[in-house]
């Protein structure tokens, strides 16, 4: 548990306090507290640690049992998912991240319903980020390979012009070649678009490469966030409670 949380500053995009949530009446997360600034914030954890639950809760798809979530200073703990999305939260789940029956273009257009900027302008930016998608806009997203559908999912979230991007294990199941490329893309998105990124990852080595800060999630409890630069094997082990 983090006792010494820095007071939220003006550039705090996400503020999570004592968050408890889960399925039915069974809590999966037992009081998580952290802040995300304009940075790449990585949540490390093994299978079943609650990473997916945490991100789905932040996206407001799972009800909050206790605690609070603030996005850009606004309390979203009781907001429906679509209102939270309108506050600038883009969510890319690990599974079912695209609309399989919709084409790539339609998937991306869904994202463009938020905000005022022209769809063409946003599309152009997404195609710059993911050039592979440009020529395949008419394909059904359900027929795509794992890597391509991840790009579509990410692209859809970027179309929302988010302030905070929630990526649930963005590289899970991708071939090693793609993984590296994808992490580079995430870094690029963060830098060029000024988007805070909250991503979850199982593999510490991979995640530390791009993260500014990491937090370890274990059995529904979060460690104190660590600066990625300071992370040592010892501190990680400690955070994992090994």
């Amino acid at each position: 548990m983090a006792d010494t949380i820095t007071e939220p500053t003006t550039d705090t995009v996400l503020e999570v306090r004592n968050l408890r949530s889960g399925y039915g009446t069974v809590p999966v997360l037992n009081g998580i507290t952290f802040d995300v600034r304009n940075e790449i914030f990585t949540i490390l954890g093994s299978n079943g640690a609650g990473k997916t639950t945490l991100l789905a809760t932040l996206a407001r798809l799972i009800p909050v049992m206790d605690g609070s979530i603030h996005v850009q200073g606004q309390d979203v703990s009781n907001m429906p998912a679509y209102s939270t999305a309108r506050l600038g939260v883009g969510y890319v789940p690990q599974e079912s991240a695209v609309f399989p029956d919709l084409t790539i273009m339609e998937n991306l257009s869904i994202g463009a319903m938020i905000g005022k900027r022209s769809t063409e302008e946003r599309l152009e930016e997404v195609f710059d980020t993911f050039p592979d998608l440009r020529t395949k806009t008419h394909l059904r997203a359900g027929n795509l390979s794992g890597g391509e559908s991840r790009m579509v999912a990410c692209g859809r979230a970027l179309m929302q012009d988010p302030q905070l991007l929630l990526l649930d294990e963005p590289t899970a199941g991708l071939s090693p070649l793609y993984v590296e490329q994808f992490f580079e893309t995430i870094e690029l998105i963060h830098k060029t678009r000024n988007v805070a990124v909250l991503l979850t990852e199982q593999n510490a080595t991979k995640a530390l490469g791009i993260a500014d800060r990491v937090m370890v999630l274990s059995l529904g409890e979060g460690s104190e966030p660590l600066d990625a630069g300071d992370v040592t094997t010892e501190r990680l082990k400690e955070a994992y409670k090994l």
Partner: protein, 339 residues
Amino acid sequence: MVQGLSNEPSGRVGGVDVETSDLAVSLRSLPNWAIALGAVVALVVFAQFSEFVAESLVIGATENAPLVLAALGFALLYRLTGLLNVAFAETITLGGYFAIWLTSSFSWGFATAVLPAGIMAGALSVVTYLLIFRVARNRNVDGLELIVISFGLALFLRHALQFVFGYNTRFFETPPPNTINVFGVGVPSFRLLAVASVAVLSILIYQFIRRTSYGLQIRALASNDGLAQASGVRPLTVTLLIWFVAGLAGGLAGAFYGVGSAVTPLLGSRQLLLILLVVLVGGIWDLLGVVYVGIATGIALTAMTLLFGSDLYAQLILILFFLAMLKVRGNKLTDGSKV
């Protein structure tokens, strides 16, 4: 997410897969027109040679146009909200009653009354959603119980409406219709109006679903409702819209059924099974599949009625055929979930 459908994480290699999809898409998008056009031309040519074929086609397509409309409305609701709403039959019935009420109270002609009647049925459909199905959803009632609720609502509406509109069969007091000759078969004018409405409404609904931003949101919700909401789609607006359009289609169908024969409390429920079968079998493809199967069913129904001299036998054979189809193909939709 919560309701997330597994969208088959496809681990296939990009290149090969894309090429086949490319081909499949180009093959699929073009021939819809070609096949439909070809079929129509073939049938028209065929109709020139056989009175039986001409009668089956013309009567089948005109008399059963309301079936297509009703099936389309039902399918819209079923595929986009996942709800098999038995009480849709009563939306049809009430469409017929609303049209009767409008023609008799305001001395409107049938053609004037039909659209307002459809709109009233659409509004009723929205009310049933807000008062019952939304409550059920918020209370996590689903599956078997939800269907039983829709049966209960159907039973309630079917009988409660008799206290409003009377117990007896009612007929439209419209002048006898002109008949128009189509391929040597006389067709009452209101039937042609029905066919035109079905065609126009089918195209409108299809275009609405395929081309508009609301249509896109509807499909997104049907495809993956958690993800749609997390992408900013407001489910309530979109859901109300679906219920309204479905009710509108049902109400129009009811008005056309009614003017074709008479309006009775059982008007819609008599058609329910046929609608269900068309939707479940035709829905294996998409909304257009429902339209095609609906038209084919109408023609087959008429052809068999002409052959056997009894529409009940025709229904019997169709029911058995569809049930066999269900057994063979299963009724799992390729997509669609709860909205």
